[in-house]
Symmetry: C2
Subunit: 377 residues, 2 copies
């Protein structure tokens, strides 16, 4: 994998980059929709591609449990299995042992956890995390990390940072295939000194890129922004920086300005399935009765498949009737929204007008009727 | 609407026809997938079209309850609402008052029933059934009928036939828009004399086409075939004959030979969502462990989107993981199977080789491992 910084923003730390992977070259900043189990939920790969998606994230934890990485390897790897020709990033599974598993025991060797599917016990160490990602054949792999729970103490998080560094070193050692990029994950919770410690340790080891992990798990937004900003400063300019699990359109714009290049989040896809649609003026909650007879599309000037063909009234009807097509059409729109947002950001960096782009973005978010209802979804 | 018989089969009563509707001309025999609530479940209109679908059926009962026919009319009719440019046939709602409603009371004026959604009480008479179908703007409308329950006595069914004829007459009187075709529905249960009575009455009234209703509700297959065969004989050759709610590929081939032109059934779409796939050799139950590592498509020589891109192993994984894409990909395949079957039948009639086509069809249905499991779905 190669990463080239093509242009730097004059007014912020944002940059336009190029990521050359085994499955194509993409520009950054980029958003990666989540394809947990080998499917971006509710859409075909072609629908995702047509909505502007260029790279997706798949989950090691999920694919290891179901259908199993050996099975996917036997069928030619994840790209072929799921019919996705573009780049794929896989996480290491560390995060899901925290967020999904009923029980996790952490030792220096790795994580013992219980499957959220059937309660069976599994062990995930650095070697296993690398083996699984090798089998999946992803373009970008991640080191196994320990994501400390929200509110963990300084002592807890310091140990977690040490362990994450040890595991990262072992992941480097275990890497069998240099054509797969490997990113280190900075932990350190909400503690600036531990973020510093974690970042320095990983940079010393040397990775193809660096991720900021352990955030977006319930901490205050302003604290998260401070941690992202200072952590980014510890990372080398010539490598891609990936903010894991983030986030809202606002989060992404602000993080881009801090120099972040890559993002992933379930928000556009999960939100779509829950009837929450992204628009330039804010969120639109499709079930609301005010859309019952609304013949306009989700957004007038949106060029997506859904907005070119369907009214809010139809989308509301499908959603209330629990039609599968509701999830598909809403997902296409939200994926397009995110892709379009990121391509707008990239264009703005190219043309040295990111500050205006950002100003316009916030100016359009006028008082939006659905915004407060959206918060509860 | 115009119907032209273009060719008659030499070896059976099958015929090749052309149905000219407000939304395009299609050839018969034709299968109509069910788009109950204004969506062929799990696929976009383009996916249905690409799978060979040319005409769909939508349900008056469902659309009346949700979102309401007036709303759809206000938004330009059902074609525009659901983005389906081809012909649409709507049923009259009579059947669902039997199959879905918790309570139905039948009077000479119509049916009083309770909504299966919220228990609210509604009245559906001939005028209302025509009003709803007018609002929806379907190309082919159906008269309101009383579908007698399975096992109903001769006395019960005789009354039901009389009522169905009275309602059919009132539907003709209430028809406001001659550009919408209107089909009469023959009832009469499993009683030959009542089928005769019902058919003669309707033919005297004169409709654009005739449907055989009140079957596929639990009666024995051989009895159903006898009733279809004899009922078909009572119907005029120059009008399209539609067998409602039927059926399996075998049912369709046999019914085509009896001179039936149109079919609808939830089997391909509902089956797809339950992991039951149609193939030339019979049914394939995708969840079975024998497909866990099977890299082949559902059918080797199938040209559908799904078979061109996905393995049985992937489809099994999606199905077991309850991914929405499982329903989409399976539905595309089953719709293609049915479309392809019907286009094969039409081609065979054109080339005077329906008997061989039928022979080949059955010959391929060798002992199929999944067949017995499929019966329980």
């Amino acid at each position: 994998m190669k990463f080239i910084v093509k242009k730097k923003c004059a007014s912020s730390r944002a940059r336009l980059g190029e990521l050359v992977t085994n499955h194509g070259t993409i520009e950054t900043p980029v958003f990666m929709p989540v394809g947990t189990l080998g499917s971006v939920k509710a859409v075909t790969p072609e629908e995702a591609r047509d909505a502007g998606v260029e790279i997706i994230l798949a989950n090691t934890y999920h694919l290891y449990l179901r259908p199993g990485h050996a099975l996917i390897e036997g069928l030619g790897g994840l790209h072929r299995f799921m019919n996705w020709p573009g780049p794929i990033l896989t996480d290491s599974g560390g995060f899901q042992t925290l967020s999904l598993s009923k029980l996790r025991t952490i030792s220096p060797e790795g994580v013992t956890f219980r499957s959220h599917l059937d309660g069976s016990t599994h062990f995930l160490g650095p070697a296993k995390a690398m083996e699984i990602q090798k089998s999946l054949g992803s373009d970008i792999t991640m080191t196994l990390d320990e994501c400390a729970p929200a509110g963990a103490s300084h002592d807890y998080v310091r140990n977690s940072v040490r362990l994450t560094e040890q595991w990262a070193r072992r992941c480097l050692d275990e890497r069998k295939d240099d054509s797969q990029a490997l990113f280190g994950i900075v932990q350190g919770g909400i503690y600036p000194d531990l973020r510093d410690l974690s970042a320095r340790g990983l940079v010393r080891l040397g990775f193809d890129g660096y991720a900021i992990g352990g955030l977006a798990i319930g901490e205050d937004t302003r604290i998260r922004e401070q941690i992202v900003r200072l952590t980014r400063e510890f990372l080398p300019d010539e490598k891609p920086a990936y903010l894991m699990g983030v986030g809202t359109p606002e989060d992404i714009i602000e993080s881009v300005k801090m120099g972040l290049d890559m993002f992933d989040c379930v928000l556009p896809t999960r939100g779509a399935r829950n009837g929450m649609l992204f628009t330039k003026t804010g969120k639109l909650i499709i079930k609301h009765s005010r859309y019952a007879q609304d013949d306009s599309p989700i957004e007038e000037d949106c060029g997506c498949y859904t907005c070119s063909r369907y009214s809010r009234a139809y989308l509301r009807h499908l959603y209330l009737s629990r039609e599968i097509l509701a999830s598909t059409l809403n997902t296409i729109h939200n994926l397009h929204y995110y892709s379009h947002l990121l391509s707008g950001i990239r264009q703005a960096i190219k043309e040295d007008r990111l500050a205006e782009f950002s100003h316009d973005f916030y100016a359009r978010r006028v008082e939006n009727r659905d915004q407060s209802e959206a918060e509860s979804l």
